[in-house]
C-alpha cells in the first residue's frame, strides 16, 4: 500500500531534497564545462604550436561531456521536482508535512 499523509510528506521531501541537490550539481557541472572551455592555450606562435589542435580537440570533448551531463542532471532534477509537486497536490496532510520539512535544515534530516 503506497504511503499517504505524514509519511507521504516525508517521501515527497526525499524527492524534493534529491532534486535540490541535483540542481546544485547541475550548476557545478555547468561551471566546470565553462572553465574547461575557457582553458584554451596561449596565442599562436607558428612552429611552436603543433600541440594546439590536439589540445583543443580533447578540451572541447571534455567540455561537451560536462555540458551534456549538466543537461541530464538538470532534466532529472526538474522531473523529480515536478513529481514532488504533483504528489503535494494530491494529499493535504502530506503537503503540510512536506512544507514543514522543506523549510527546515536539511542537515538535521540527515542530508
Amino acid at each position: 500500500m503506497p504511503d499517504h499523509g505524514d509519511q507521504l510528506g516525508v517521501d515527497i521531501n526525499e524527492l524534493y531534497r534529491t532534486a535540490h541537490f541535483l540542481s546544485d550539481v547541475q550548476t557545478d557541472f555547468t561551471q566546470a564545462a565553462v572553465a574547461v572551455d575557457e582553458a584554451f592555450p596561449p596565442g599562436s606562435s607558428g612552429q611552436w604550436t603543433t600541440m594546439a589542435p590536439a589540445w583543443d580537440q580533447l578540451r572541447l570533448a571534455i567540455a561537451d561531456l560536462l555540458a551534456n551531463n549538466a543537461q541530464t542532471i538538470g532534466d532529472t532534477s526538474d522531473t523529480l521536482t515536478a513529481i514532488a509537486e504533483q504528489y503535494v497536490a494530491t494529499d493535504q496532510a502530506a503537503a503540510v508535512q512536506f512544507l514543514a520539512l522543506a523549510q527546515s535544515d536539511p542537515t538535521e534530516q540527515g542530508w
Partner: protein, 307 residues
Amino acid sequence: MTVAFADDLMHLSDEIEQAAMNDWKTRVMMEYHDVNTGVPQATPWMNKDQISKQLGIHDAFQPWSLLPDPDAFQPVADKLSQAMGLLRVDADFSNPVDPSDQIGAARQEYQALVGHDPISNWSGATADNFRNKFLDHFKANTENQAILIAVLKAAADAQRAIWTNARHDITSIAQNALAAVRSGGYHPNPLVMGLTVLAGIASIAAVPFSGGGSLALGITAIGAAGSIASTGVGQDPVTLTGHSVPEIIKSMKSGIVTLQDSVTTACRKVEVSLLDNLVVVGLDAQQLFAMAKPTLATNDPGLIAGR
C-alpha cells in the same frame, strides 16, 4: 616576460655576431697582407649585412625568440583546477593524477547523493531504474570526468615545463657560445651542456577509471616531471667545442639543432598523449563518463511512495 626573453636572447645573438664579425675581419686582414713586407692589401669588401647573413647567427636564434610564454599557461592550469574542484564528489578530494595536489573536501551536494540511497522511501520499477541507471553510476561518472580534466591539466603543466626549459637551454647555449667566441674561439676542452627540455616532462603511470569492471580501462598522460610519480625521459647533452671562432659557431649551431630536436620530441610526446586520450573519450568508454538519463516521468506508475 615574453618580450624581455626575446629581447635578451636577440641581444645575446647580436653580441655573438659582433664578436664573430670582429674575429672574421681580423682573420681576413691577416690573410690579405704581403707575406714579405707585411703591408695590408685590398681585402674582399663585404658589408655588415652580408657578413651577418654569411654567419647566420641571427637566423639561428630568431625563431627561438618566439617561444611561447610559460607563464601564459598558468591561467590555463588554474581554470582546470577550478573545474576539478567543482567535481569534488569524494571526501578529501585530490588531483587524480597528482595526489599531492589536494583540492578539498567533498562538496555537500555530492555528499547528499552518494554513499546512501537518497530516495530510500520510494519503490517500483522506475525508482529502481533511477537507482541502477543513474544514482549507482553517478559517483564513478563524476570521478572519471575529473580524471579527464586532471590529464588535461597535466598536459598544460608539461607544456609550461617545455617552454620554460627551452628558454633556459637556448639562453645557456647562447651565453656559453658568447663566452667562447669572446675568448678567441679557443676551447680545447669540450663544454658539455645538459639540456632540460625532455627531462622536464614525464609520463604518468596509468590512472584507472572508476567502474571499469574487468576492462581495466585507464588513461595515461604527460605531465611536468618532479611534481608527480612519473618516469622521466633521458636526453643527450649538447657539446660546445672548437679551436676557432668558426668552429665554435658551427658547434653552437649543431647544439641548437639538437635542442630543436628535443623540443620537437617533447611536443610530439604531449601531442600523442592528448590524441590517445581523445580516442579513449570517444570509444565505448563513453559509458564511464556520460550519465544515463533515468526514465523518470510525472504520473509514473513505476514510482511508488513507500517500501
